[in-house]
Amino acid sequence: MKKYTLLDGLVVPLDRANVDTDAIIPKQFLKSIKRSGFGPNAFDEWRYLDHGEPGMDNACRPLNGDFVLNQPRYQGAQILLTRENFGCGSSREHAPWALEDYGFRVIIAPSFADIFFNNCFKNGLLPIRLAADKVDALFRAVEANVGYRLTVDLEAQTITTPDGAVYPFEVDAFRRHCLLNGLDDIGLTLQHVDEIAAFETKHHAAQPWL
């Protein structure tokens, strides 16, 4: 997994609540058996005016100029600012794959759906929960200032605005450690092979039908 490092990135505001994983990556792209290459189809139905299918040359497709990701001032954004319950719906990890492949490294929202939130950490993507009034303030600032950037320091657990305001955020210590060090969960778990095997023996002795 990619290590997360200190990020100073351009922010794009996606002013919608309950953005679901079908919207983040529509199901026709789930037919891929790979885990890369989903970026051009992130938010496909909002981003393009035609209907997208796997195998199309996305560079030739008509863009929806009204969709915020397509606006020139937000090109190259690495921080997605959005509203509550982001990532609800399907468990598809293709959603964080698509966001990461698009270039996002951080998502800031008042709340996230549980499975999506979990999946982000496995893919070098940092989801940050911030109180709704702070998110509101950031929305106003981003919209008012072209080229608005934030500095997100995972080590210090802070977001710093261009005018020097600092917003601390919470993150689970274990997940932070894994993200900062790019650690693979499976490798870590396999350090406990003996414990797992001992548990399994006992568990199956008590419930031999399992």
Partner: protein
């Protein structure tokens, strides 16, 4: 020991180890696998030269991409076909039991598992699919996971997890005629919202829940995820045991008795404390119809499409956007909304009882002239066979419905079954998101009875009036 919730019991009996900050390794008893979320996990195993820890815990089935007509011709879309073939190849390579497309046991993964007795009380069950919550109906701890976690469980038989909070959703009283588990689920989501259960494991309790069949309990737990909860669950009782007895993967003989004795403990103790409790009166629940693009955008069938002007400012814009997408005008009575298509099926409502309920409404009637397509997609090959044995297929066909082969079908439209832009569908599935059933398609979630009645009338009707 102090009184425990069902969730406490299931969690505690699977903790392999736990760190000081609460991060735990949870042992997984059953992993269900389908073609969409597994290929990258198998690939990950291969790249790291790892083998699955316990192939006997795994059971695989293709469901999302399979066609529901003309199976003999195979899968026409080459990308879909590769995905299903990849599952076949991975299962063969690693020695995993798979019910392939031609197998009568093939079906939607969450219909197939319980039907085989592969989901048992007291188990932890995972699948790379959010509707894994369905299996909680058997007093199991069951939830969806991402593909990285699928690989993690394959390689280690464990999941890294932190305990959620526990919520009790208690439904007391008796459901009225024409009101189903689906309506309970939608009413709960209408009340607590699609994020209301975020961070919680929900246990459904109360008289009305106890009286549900296993099919109904699965429908209810299936939609826990639409309320934001990864897991939904219901205590085990005689209804659970009767359903499971004699199923292929269920224990037999002496082990059956031993198992049932243990399973009887799988309920919340008297006095157990939940972090949150929601109470509904079954008698007040009406048949529900969603009007918007999120399951929480739901009203009773005798209600009207909401008026954004009556809503708080922060909700207004979302409602206006949903109404525009759905092509609906504020204050329209639900029963005046006419429909183009009907979909009866999915892991929410694709079981035998759902087929029976829909057939009962369709019997001796015919779909309306404005309904272009009404399809019934059984949840599995075994559901299909059972329905045919009972003559339900004939009832549907005589009424103008199409009788299809099992799979996810138009629940998410990954195969050829989908809505065209602007088409309006009465659907027994679980998600009404924008584009879920086809780009520009408009989905209204309802129970099987309500879907069948809408097909007959050409618009939504209050099925209670058809008693």
């Amino acid at each position: 020991m102090s009184a425990q919730t069902l969730y406490d019991k299931l969690w505690n009996s699977h903790v392999v180890r736990q760190d000081a900050d609460g991060t735990a390794l949870i042992y997984i008893d059953r992993q269900l696998v389908h073609e969409v979320t597994s290929p990258q996990a198998f690939e990950g195993l291969r790249l790291a030269s790892r083998r699955p820890w316990r192939t006997a815990s795994m059971l695989a089935v293709p469901d999302h991409n399979v066609p529901t007509t003309n199976r003999a011709a195979g899968i026409s879309d080459p990308i879909s076909r590769i995905q299903v073939e990849t599952l076949d190849a991975n299962c063969a390579e690693f020695g995993i039991t798979e019910f392939k497309m031609g197998d009568i046991r093939q079906g939607v993964v969450h219909v197939m598992g319980p039907e085989q007795g592969a989901t048992l009380p007291g188990m932890t069950v995972v699948c790379g699919d959010s509707h894994t919550s369905t299996h909680g109906a058997f007093a199991a701890l069951a939830h969806g996971i991402g593909t990285s976690e699928v690989e993690h469980v394959m390689a280690t038989q464990c999941l890294v997890a932190k305990k959620s909070k526990a919520m009790e959703v208690r439904v007391e009283g008796v459901l009225g005629y024409g009101v189903t588990a689906k309506d309970i689920a939608l009413a709960v989501i209408g009340q607590i919202g699609t994020a209301g259960g975020t961070g919680y494991a929900i246990e459904f309790t109360g008289n009305a829940v106890r009286q549900l069949s296993m099919e109904g309990r699965m429908t209810l737990c299936n939609m826990a995820i639409e309320a934001g909860a990864r897991a939904g669950m219901i205590a085990a009782d005689d209804t659970t045991f009767e359903y499971l007895k004699g199923r292929p993967f269920a224990p037999e003989g002496e082990q059956w008795d031993q198992a049932v004795a243990q399973w009887r403990e799988l309920h919340s103790d008297a006095g157990a404390v939940f972090d949150a409790t929601v109470v509904l009166d079954a008698a007040n629940i009406c048949p529900q119809v969603t009007w918007g693009t999120s399951p929480e955008m739901v009203v009773a069938v005798d209600g009207c499409v909401p008026d954004p002007l009556n809503m708080s400012i922060d909700k207004r814009e979302g409602i206006e956007r949903a109404l525009a997408y759905m092509g609906l005008t504020a204050n329209t009575p639900v029963t005046e909304i006419s429909i183009d298509k009907v979909f009866i099926g999915s892991c929410t409502n694709g079981r035998i009882e759902d087929m029976r309920a829909a057939a009962e409404v369709a019997r001796g009637r015919h779909i309306a002239a404005n309904v272009k397509l009404a399809m019934v997609v059984p949840g599995s090959g075994l559901v299909k066979a059972q329905a045919e044995q009972e003559g339900l297929d004939k009832i549907f066909i005589a009424a103008g419905f199409e009788w299809r082969d099992p799979g996810c079908s138009m629940c998410l439209a990954m195969n050829d079954d989908r809505l065209s832009a602007g088409e309006r569908c009465a659907s027994t599935s679980n998600r009404n998101f924008e584009g879920r059933q086809g780009q520009g398609g408009r989905t209204h979630l309802v129970s099987p009875q309500m879907a069948a009645a809408a097909a007959i009338a050409g618009h939504f009707v209050d099925v209670r009036e058809w008693k």
